[in-house]
């Protein structure tokens, strides 16, 4: 076991950071929006091969990149392209950005669908790979910090189907959302820690109050746990680890949301304050792949056998 990045991983993360640093600003005209999708950065990531890390290195390398990308205020689609696609289509690179779509809620808005060129529609058993053309989806107004969209006409779910890939898609969607959560949560915490250090009330920094300190430590516990669990799930490629990572992060969103917004005061509810670019990513991730409850039930099945099954499965 080794919790430090090795030389290759460090080099990869540093290279990613350098690119992100160049693209972390939001244009003045879009500063007050709920979400800023950075299409130029998306192109850079796509062309530079970063999104191919799982194929060329391993899924852990890809998960590290997903977490990094989630730390800047602009949003790019990395999770589905870098983690789900390689698991579903190891020998092919589908056109990105990619949206992960729940087939049971096909008519509902989905994260990243407004900008996606490809959708993976999880039908439970199988996965349909849908190419998205102009006019197939419409953008949906939302407080979530991703470009949400929905299909305006029912996509063809029969043309390109990956048989029996539903569980794999769920697994990697969980890894991707946990990695994305880890990065966005850490960035939101760092942002808030900086804020409470400089904002003073009653003549002292907000961050000097124990009630604030202790809750911020709890927030950082969640982010740290999320990071390791996400990375372990990417490393082990085990569905159980993916369930655990998703369950852990999704069950804790509420605590983070409340405390981080609370400590930013009224500034935290303005869109010019940046906080929402991370926190409303967390909110968007909260219910995906069945949410905390769905993941927890899967953990129970995997650790202790399916309901009605009194035997204990090895895991």
């Amino acid at each position: 076991m080794d919790f430090q990045l090795n030389d290759d991983q460090s080099a990869l993360v540093s290279a990613m950071r350098a690119i992100l640093l160049d693209h972390q600003d939001i244009p003045q005209s879009q500063k007050l929006d709920y979400c800023y999708f950075h299409s130029a950065l998306q192109d850079v990531l796509q062309e530079s091969g970063f999104l191919n890390a799982a194929r060329e290195v391993d899924p852990l390398a890809a998960a590290l990149l997903v977490a990094e990308a989630a730390k800047i205020p602009p949003v790019v689609e990395v999770g589905a392209s870098a983690l789900i696609a390689p698991a579903l289509m190891p020998d092919e690179v589908p056109e990105g950005p990619i949206a992960y779509v729940d087939g049971a809620r096909l008519d509902k808005p989905h994260r990243n669908l407004a900008v996606a060129k490809t959708a993976f529609v999880n039908l439970g058993e199988d996965v349909a790979v849908v190419s998205i053309d102009e006019g197939d989806v419409e953008r949906v107004e939302t407080i979530y910090a991703y470009p949400f969209g929905k299909f305006v006409r029912k996509p063809d779910l029969t043309r390109s189907v990956i048989a029996s890939a539903g569980a794999t898609a769920t697994q990697w969607a969980r890894v991707a959302l946990a990695a994305e959560f880890a990065g966005a949560a850490q960035a939101a915490i760092d942002f808030t820690v900086d804020y409470v250090k400089q904002r003073t009330v009653f003549g002292r920094p907000v961050g000097s109050f124990q009630a604030v300190q202790h809750r911020l430590v709890q927030c950082s516990r969640l982010a740290k746990g999320a990071y390791y669990l996400a990375m372990k799930a990417a490393w082990s490629k085990a569905p159980e680890d993916a369930m655990v990572a998703a369950c852990y992060v999704q069950s804790e969103v509420q605590k983070l949301m409340y405390d981080l917004h609370q400590f930013n005061g009224a500034m935290g509810v303005t869109t010019e304050h940046l906080l929402h670019f991370w926190t409303y990513r967390l909110r968007a991730l909260q219910s995906e792949t069945g949410g905390a409850h769905g993941a927890a039930l899967d953990i129970a099945d995997s650790r202790w056998g399916a309901a009605g099954d009194n035997g204990r499965r090895e895991c």
Partner: protein, 380 residues
């Protein structure tokens, strides 16, 4: 970064498990759960058990060879701790000996003290207790008032200690006493518990018997040779000694084990098909898994000899959250466990009643992480 166990660690864990299986008597669980690891019975048993562990090289494997160890790395020491805790800590109080009392003696003891004590500890037959807390000094340990006054070639000690686990059966006390008026003018004494003037009384408590003792010192005389390190060096010694305990008890390991027991009990009652119960159990498992990785990251830092930081405190906070959830789960869905229905879960619950207090109150862990980890300003 990678999360696998190398073969040598897997083999080591197997070796520890085999030793535990072979050395524990068939009625161990039954006896253990009735009595707790701090009970007189278990403390006596620990002298046999640890001696046998020592013979197998499994008592002080991480110690330097010159003191009877095999200089194994922290991972192995940690695996050993996990397996012992999961088995109900058959080492009794001797986990303290090997984890921090021995290492503190190696660092601060003189030749005579090392010669006198380390062999005994490594033999698995000597019981120590930790005399730090007092009625007026717990979290604020530097407020302690037990006094040691130098008189020629000895010290005379007066005062009292409280919550001194294992004191009733201990051979030695690792005692903190004030040797000056300044807040941190504190010294460590290695004091035989059979010295005249020492008396111990015990209290019953929620975490079973053996932990809650009070130790009184009335004109207790100890030779100057009983002083560990310099006079007044006690504070530094304690801070250093307890840094060996930074990672603390592997609560995720016992927690996941207890969660499995709770699920088995629910299955037996035919209640584990309830999706609400299943979901709650799954969430608790996820919390323990998170705490586990955070703890392992600290062990990894230690193996690599990286400078200490507050990750250990954070991992304790994480484990405590999960423990609290599990205690709640047990009572909510298996209430009779605490009324004779399940001795092992009753024991788990009771051992963990003070989990947020022992080894440093949780609020202090949170303060440390906030101020040293996140760099938040101290309240002036």
């Amino acid at each position: 970064m990678e999360f696998g166990w190398p073969k040598e660690h897997v083999d080591y864990r197997r070796r520890v498990r085999e030793a535990i299986n072979e050395l524990l008597p068939p009625d161990w669980e039954e006896t253990y759960v009735r009595e707790s690891y701090a009970s007189d019975l278990q403390i006596d048993f620990s002298r046999e058990f640890c001696a046998a562990l020592a013979e197998r090289g499994l008592l002080t494997p991480h110690w330097p060879a010159e003191y009877g160890g095999s200089e194994s790395e922290d991972w192995q020491h940690f695996i050993l701790g996990e397996e012992m805790k999961a088995a109900g800590e058959p080492r009794g109080p001797q986990y303290m000996n090997v984890n921090w009392i021995g290492p503190a003696l190696m660092k601060y003891g003189n030749d005579e003290q090392r010669e006198q004590h380390l062999r005994g500890i490594a033999s698995g037959k000597v019981i120590w207790c930790q005399g730090f807390s007092e009625p007026g000094a717990g979290t604020d340990l530097a407020a302690l008032r037990t006094k040691a006054v130098r008189a020629g070639d000895k010290y005379i000690i007066n005062g009292s200690k409280i919550w001194t686990s294992y004191a009733r059966k201990a051979d030695w006390c690792f005692l903190l006493a004030r040797t000056g008026e300044g807040r941190k003018e504190i010294s460590v004494f290695l004091l035989p518990m059979n010295t005249p003037g020492i008396s111990v009384s015990s209290y019953p408590g929620l975490p079973k018997y053996g932990h809650l003792n009070e130790v009184y010192f009335t004109d207790v005389e100890t030779p100057v040779s009983g002083l560990l390190g310099e006079e007044g060096a006690g504070w530094d010694i304690v801070i250093h000694a307890l840094s060996y305990e930074r990672v603390g008890v592997p609560r995720y390991h016992t927690g996941l084990h207890a969660l499995d027991m709770a699920v088995a009990a629910l299955k037996k009652e035919g209640r584990f098909d309830d999706p609400i119960i299943r979901s709650r159990a799954g969430m608790i498992a996820a919390q323990f898994e998170g705490a586990k990785l955070m703890t392992y990251s600290v062990v990894d830092q230690r193996v690599k000899k990286l400078p200490p930081n507050t990750d250990a405190n954070l991992s304790r906070v994480a484990a405590l959250e999960a423990v609290n959830e599990l205690m709640n789960f047990i009572v909510e869905f298996l209430p009779d466990c605490l009324a004779g229905g399940h001795l092992l879960l009753d024991d788990y619950y009771r051992v963990n009643v003070p989990a947020g207090v022992t080894g440093g109150a949780n609020e202090v862990q949170l303060d440390l992480v906030a101020q040293r980890g996140l760099g938040l300003p101290r309240m002036s």
